[in-house]
Symmetry: C2
Subunit: 354 residues, 2 copies
Amino acid sequence: MSSATVSFVVNDDPKAQTLTQATRDKVLEAVRLLDYRPNLQARSLRTQRSHSIAVLTDELTAVPYENSTIRGMQERAWAGGFMVTTMTTGGNAALAEHAVEVVLARQFDAVIVTTAFTREVEVPAAFDSIPLVLLNCFSRDGHRSVLPAERSGSRSAAELLLAAGHTRIGFINGLRETWAAGQRRLGYRDALRAAGIAYDRTLVRWGDYQTDSGHRHATVLLDSPNPPTAIMAGNDRMAVGVYYAAYQRGLRIPEDLSVVGYDDHAEFSAHAVPAMSTVRLPYYEMGRAAVDLLIAGTPAGDAPPTGHGLVTEVECQPVARKSIGPPRSDPIAPSPPARPRDQARDDAPPENPT
Amino acid sequence: MSSATVSFVVNDDPKAQTLTQATRDKVLEAVRLLDYRPNLQARSLRTQRSHSIAVLTDELTAVPYENSTIRGMQERAWAGGFMVTTMTTGGNAALAEHAVEVVLARQFDAVIVTTAFTREVEVPAAFDSIPLVLLNCFSRDGHRSVLPAERSGSRSAAELLLAAGHTRIGFINGLRETWAAGQRRLGYRDALRAAGIAYDRTLVRWGDYQTDSGHRHATVLLDSPNPPTAIMAGNDRMAVGVYYAAYQRGLRIPEDLSVVGYDDHAEFSAHAVPAMSTVRLPYYEMGRAAVDLLIAGTPAGDAPPTGHGLVTEVECQPVARKSIGPPRSDPIAPSPPARPRDQARDDAPPENPT
DNA sequence: TTGTAGGCGTTATCAT
DNA sequence: ATGATAACGCCTACAA
């Protein structure tokens, strides 16, 4: 019994078809007896394939959905016999450089470069020699990338509102200079256009993704002469700000105002009162897709999302909850009714502790 | 120029002291020229040390501080020339088993088993042959573990309030059956005892870590005949519930009620209005400590936290912000003033959307 | 002061 | 149908 024989049966190599069932059993028995496990490092050395994928991320964000990305990557990788190890650079150049060294020296088979927020990245030249995909980011050097389909996602959000009968839809978009916000603006416009509604620029505003920003912009929208009957926000957090602004003026959701968020960040959307309709950012699927691009061919289960050319877009599904209703028949009063308050704290909104 | 020579200078082996500066330079030059990188897999095969640590976690929690753990582990590991790769099992037995196989087959040098919430764990027997530390969890099989010093942390929280002059301190603890809640109860008692204040069992309640729970229990406490002038909560999220309850009855923080949270979960604490005083769970430091136990001896920088025997406790520092003030001189009205409301929604608290 | 050779645990090629 | 044997890239005694 030679090592070669063992190798055959352990990996059940097709060429091992020629083996006697007897020897095969003998090997298997020995394996069990000795609790034998192939040394994968040695195997890698020999085969020149480590079956490891490195994930370089600028920051492990404080937002939970980033974990979905990791889960998606890991599950797909494991299904294909791969391992993923993630390295966080935190935007620190020294750490980033170290990470590159490690990837090269440790014989990783492939790299995923990912960012917390969708943006353009610069891929280190040292990675030219290794398969790479960009996840939630993009570059101008012809690397493949996996991105959320923001434009159609935003369109879905608007359609949720249009379907309920709204025609004046306020839009508190994200930071103007971001890619996502640009796409979302297009999606919003697409939806209106398809519905034959004129684009009213006074209805769209640029927020900064913070609760407070949502609150502020919603205030402006709601207090305008011809206020919207529905507001969509660039993320769930800002949508919470919209809730606050509505509540402050005694407006009920969804009876008096419909709201839709973006991201489906459960902390804000599912747990809101009433539960917030939103659009889900498909982090899990994106993670899967990125790994899939790298190890396509290895069996995994379901089909990968359709990729056309260099960029694979993953759809953002609308999730309808309780924050959307038909528009109020009577227009919202132009200026908010001065509510009697029992306390001296009329100025400070009592909410917003989170 | 032989491979041995190269090996010496690349690793600057002490035995290479005998080398001519000339040859040394020649090697270095060649390294630069060829962009040579030692193959760490091959090295591992030879040295039987992979310099890799596996992190098995039950779930990558939705809570951001888990990321701090990972950062702490990674930074300490990198400083010592190690790599960490984390594998999430999500409580799935099959995944857990796979993870164990991977750890063994891939020649990881050590394992960290960690959990999202402090609890007892069962360590797979297959790990008997490999250095292991438990992080944020513990077992009864004599494994080393790194834990937050909950008891003294809770004591610190209470002391924050005592120092401000409070003597009636409500405590909305966490789930009764958890280790952390047990420790925290002791810490609360320690603080009161040291201040010579009698323990009033009507002031301590068991919540379930949700905002809503904090809101409910705070309501009970504040509406009791002899309400506390300060409330400490088992986590920041419940403390937000306390804020809500206070605001609902027109109580200002910290003028009418002092509040202290636990965790320092920024989403809830730092961003609250007013900013919440709390106690920080030292996830980053715990991550560092866990790796440190495993690779002690490798230079890293600062000194590790003191560990006595099998468990290394890492202190939870109080962080004072704006939610604590002196107790009100006049007692809070026993029953809340019936506030006039302008809306029909008197029942439903307008807050709590997050 | 430097070079040679053996072996870490695999896999792959070639004999047997 | 199976057994030797070389090689993957590195480290390390030991020899030169």
